[in-house]
Amino acid sequence: MIPRRSTERGRPPAELTRWTRARVLVMGGLLMAALGATLARAVSLQVLQRARLTSMATDQTVREMEIPARRGDIYDRRGIPLAQSVEVDSLWLDPSMVGDLRRAARDLARTLHLDAAELEARLARGRRFAWVKRQVTPQEVTLAQRLEVPGLGVAKEPKRFYPQRELGAQVLGVVGTDGHGLEGLELAFEDELSGQSEKVEGTRDARGRNLLLQGAPEAVGRRGATVTLTLDRQVQYAAEKALDRAVDESKAIAGMLVVLDPRTGELLALAQTPRVNPNAPAPGIAAGALRDRPALDLFEPGSTYKAFVAAAALEERAVRPEDSLDCEGGSWEVGRHVIHDTHPHGMLNLARILAVSSNIGAAKLAQRLGREGMMRTARRFGFGERTGLALPGEGKGSIPYPKAEVTLATQAFGQGLSATAVQVAAGYGALANRGVLMRPYLVSRVTDPDGVVLLENQPTQVRQAVSERTARQVVQMLEGVVQKDGTAPRGALEAYRVAGKTGTSQKPDPVARGYSDKRIASFAGIVPADDPRLVIYVMIDEPKTDVYGGLVAAPAFKEVATAVLPYLGVPPSLSVLASAKKVPNPPPMQVKEEPAAAQPVTERLEQGSVSVPNVQGQVGRDAVARLLATSLEPRLRGSGRVMAQSPAPGAHVARGARVTLELGASP
């Protein structure tokens, strides 16, 4: 044995045998060889197999992402935005990063006013992503972030914003949270408005999240098409205001109002009550409240239909203008049925039949026209066919063949057939437009962001409904309706000649299969009667105070016409001004409402400019109506009563000039 001390540290290097050296070198060499193998492998992978492996990496990391285009805007005919898209924040959460989901859900729910249990369930379902609350306010974001919940993220989402609030809400429709149109024009022009989404190459991580390493693409250019409507914001505003008032005062359940330019078929206003605020979150809007009723809903038009019967009878020479018909003293048996008039009449000529709205007279016209004649009447004025409005689900109406004697009679006064408000307005448009039925339209132009016009609607003639002569005769006869001895003296205007027709129809009872005691009161008006520029059709659904169109609907017509005609620069009818004294005074109530209405009209006629009315101290809403009636464009700052206005009252400014109103709380 070798002494222990020397064994501990082994032999000195000199004793390191050649064999040991060799074996150590072999081992060192083996290690070097192993490293050399890795080197060779690295060359193989990174040089020889590079292309294949790189494409595999690209396959899994690079994703073509679709970045949705910014939804296009909707404008009125004058370029005032009615629907715009803005970016808002939405809160989301990566539930896998939250330790105590129950607590996080409770905290978030309290801060964001959500249901805690529902939120927790929703968060629990999402593995790595769940919406907490979409489209939140900046304050909500701040409050939520203050909770310091791990994994809480903020995403930008586009939100549809309707700067005019309720104005034309049902026409425009709404957009869902996912950015797709759900109702109205938003749905009808979904493809155009949403536009081409852009494809961007982005890097994606293994969890499917998109990472834009090159930065977000330019927002410019990624826009949907712009939709320009024929609607006029001011006309729509006046229409909605007047309709609200009419529905309110008659305690009706609903109402619609259509304003149409008979020369072109352009719809200037499509109003309806009740209204909705499309900016409110979707759950706040009652189901069905977003139906665009004037275009979609069918109802029996009632006596407003008599004008079409009269026109067709004249056109087909079933009657001559000067002919008188026996109105049977207010009660006439047709088969097993008895037809009544509201007031008994004897012999009445055509004009008077329309003026007093004799059902018996109309029924006799229908008898003269015959069954085929009545079907032709409907066809002439476009009933029973869709007008071709852009709105989805537009009503067609039904014109059943009047087989029974009594059906022939009732169809003459607009019962037993159905139509939409737009159809009735368009029919009156044909009478107003020298017998030419124009196709009503709502969208004038769809333009993509590059300025390319995708769709343009031009005034389109549908057909010559009746001859120009017949149309003029009927319009002239209809002027009698608003005379003192007509059914709608409240529809008369001070400065314009009005041709109109009232309607008071019974609503069918869907349960009893007959007619209920519920009524539809309506008024169709043509102004000015001597050179028609507007057709205004008002329909009030189930009025309670009064049921007659002349009492309930005609004032709304008058209010709209009074506001809109000066705004459109329609010159007053000289014949009315000349015979102003002879014209029966409108009810004093209405005079009070619009005390200065006639004043600016005469001035503007002379100079093409208007005098700024004094609206100081008035409530903002009234001041706006007043300015609109004076063809001025109000600009509001603040809310409350008018504290200051610019230009000053009495100043002469060009029509359509802006008047800025400073609103504030009354002192």
């Binding site: 070798i2 064994t7 501990e8 540290r9 082994g10 032999r11 000195p12 290097p13 004793e15 390191l16 064999w19 040991t20 050296r21 074996r23 150590v24 070198l25 072999v26 081992m27 060192g28 083996l30 290690l31 070097m32 192993a34 490293l35 193998a37 890795t38 080197l39 492998r41 690295a42 060359v43 992978l45 990174q46 040089v47 197999q49 590079r50 294949r52 492996l53 790189t54 595999m56 990496a57 690209t58 899994q60 990391t61 791990p150 890097t203 994606r204 991580d205 293994a206 969890r207 990472l211």
Partner: protein
């Protein structure tokens, strides 16, 4: 940093108050390679872990910070190893091995060892976490070097030179397999065979034991679904790239997509959660992806330098213990590096071995740097001596200080 052998500047790695010229005789090439690898490791750990760290820990620097602390500790340990000298390890060989065995047992006790990814490999103590297997590999080398040097010619005999080491290895391997830690077990055996071979054990014993171990290894693989899966995935990663071969396939994609010059530092796409363990066992894939063939070759060359200078120091050692110790530690570093990189490039089945100096993991880094320190000490003492004997200790101190 310390580069030339006659550098007059005091080293920042070995801080020191005195400004007088100090003579350093540690191998500057080896030191340079080790420091380069550690630096590369810090950069790559940050690059590979920042996204994961930011998401999981809410701090992108989370792993870098911890690795920096470990590197600091590693530098101190490395300096201490140089200063103390490798010879002291001879006396510590048995106690260290005993401690390692105790730690390996301790880690298996439920509640003491921490389970990560199905394996009980960590001892979590306040402020630090130990991986007993990492420590065991180091102490195993020290023990073998000491034992083989002591037994001299008897190494060739079966009963004294071969069997005791094999039995002890069996104990360590059994403990490691209980965690389970297949990679460390293999590593322990590889080290045993390298040192037995160097010490002159009969080749027939080595070959014979390998042949006898084959059925055991087969059993270990076949009876463990995850090991079998790893082998299957290794054999054809692309056929299993969506399940068991996922990691290997992703690693290959990483390395391959780097090309010649790489995607650029920090530009790895694979670290975006595609490649699991990007900052630990598969950090080489990210090096390959971000730094390309250039970076991969540089890394391999640095390990080559460590192997070269380590072997050189072993051959120049003044006694057998030093030679065996030098070879063993060189093998510890070199083989783990080669195995880890081979795994990352699909040349070997997944093992769970770290890349020395580079992979994230404090224990691994400190042990690797300790091993490097011992190799440096070896190189310093093997330098030509002018005043041998008692003054040697003083000289060493000066070199280090």
């Amino acid at each position: 940093m310390i580069r030339p052998r006659r550098n007059t500047a005091p080293s920042p790695a070995l801080p020191d108050g005195r400004s007088e010229p100090v003579r350093l005789s540690v191998d500057p090439v080896l030191l340079g390679a080790v420091l380069a690898l550690v630096s590369l490791g810090l950069v790559m750990v940050y690059s590979a872990s920042a996204v994961t760290a930011a998401e999981k820990q809410g701090n992108g620097f989370y792993f870098l910070e911890r690795q920096l602390v470990a590197a600091g500790v590693g530098l101190v340990v490395m300096a201490a190893a140089v200063r103390v000298g490798y010879r002291r390890l001879a006396r510590l060989a048995y106690p260290m091995l005993l401690v390692s065995i105790v730690l390996l047992m301790l880690v298996l006790v439920p509640g003491v060892g921490t389970v990560v990814g199905g394996a009980r490999r960590w001892l979590r103590l306040p402020g630090l976490s130990l991986q007993p297997a990492e420590i065991a590999k180091f102490t195993w080398v020290v023990y073998l070097a000491y034992s083989l040097a002591k037994k001299r010619e008897k190494v060739a005999t079966f009963s004294i030179g071969f069997l005791p080491h094999l039995l002890l290895a069996g104990l360590l391997v059994a403990l490691c397999m209980a965690e389970p830690d297949f990679g460390s077990s293999v590593e322990l055996l590889v080290l045993l065979f390298i040192l037995l071979f160097a010490a002159g054990t009969r080749l027939s014993y080595l070959v014979g034991s390998v042949l006898l171990a084959l059925p055991l290894a087969y059993g270990a693989i076949a009876h463990s679904p995850y090991r079998l899966a790893r082998i299957t995935a290794f054999l054809d990663p692309w056929a299993h790239r969506h399940d068991i071969g996922y990691q290997v396939a992703q690693s290959l994609i990483s390395v391959g997509s780097g090309g010649l010059f790489g995607l650029g530092l920090g530009e790895s796409r694979q670290k975006l959660f595609f490649l699991p363990e990007a900052h630990t066992d598969f950090i080489f894939s990210i090096i390959g992806e971000e730094l390309g063939l250039l970076g991969a070759v540089a890394t391999i060359v640095l390990y080559g330098i460590v192997v070269w200078r380590g072997t050189r120091a072993a051959l120049r050692a003044s006694e057998t213990f030093g030679t065996y110790l030098g070879l063993g530690l060189t093998a510890l570093l070199g083989s783990q590096a080669a195995v880890n990189m081979s795994v990352a490039m699909g040349m070997l089945p997944t093992k769970g071995l770290t890349l020395p100096f580079i992979s994230y993991g404090g224990c691994s880094l400190v042990i690797s740097m300790a091993a490097a320190g011992v190799l440096l000490s070896l190189s310093a003492s093997s330098a030509p001596m002018r005043n041998p004997g008692a003054s040697r200790v003083r000289q060493l101190r000066e070199q280090v200080a």
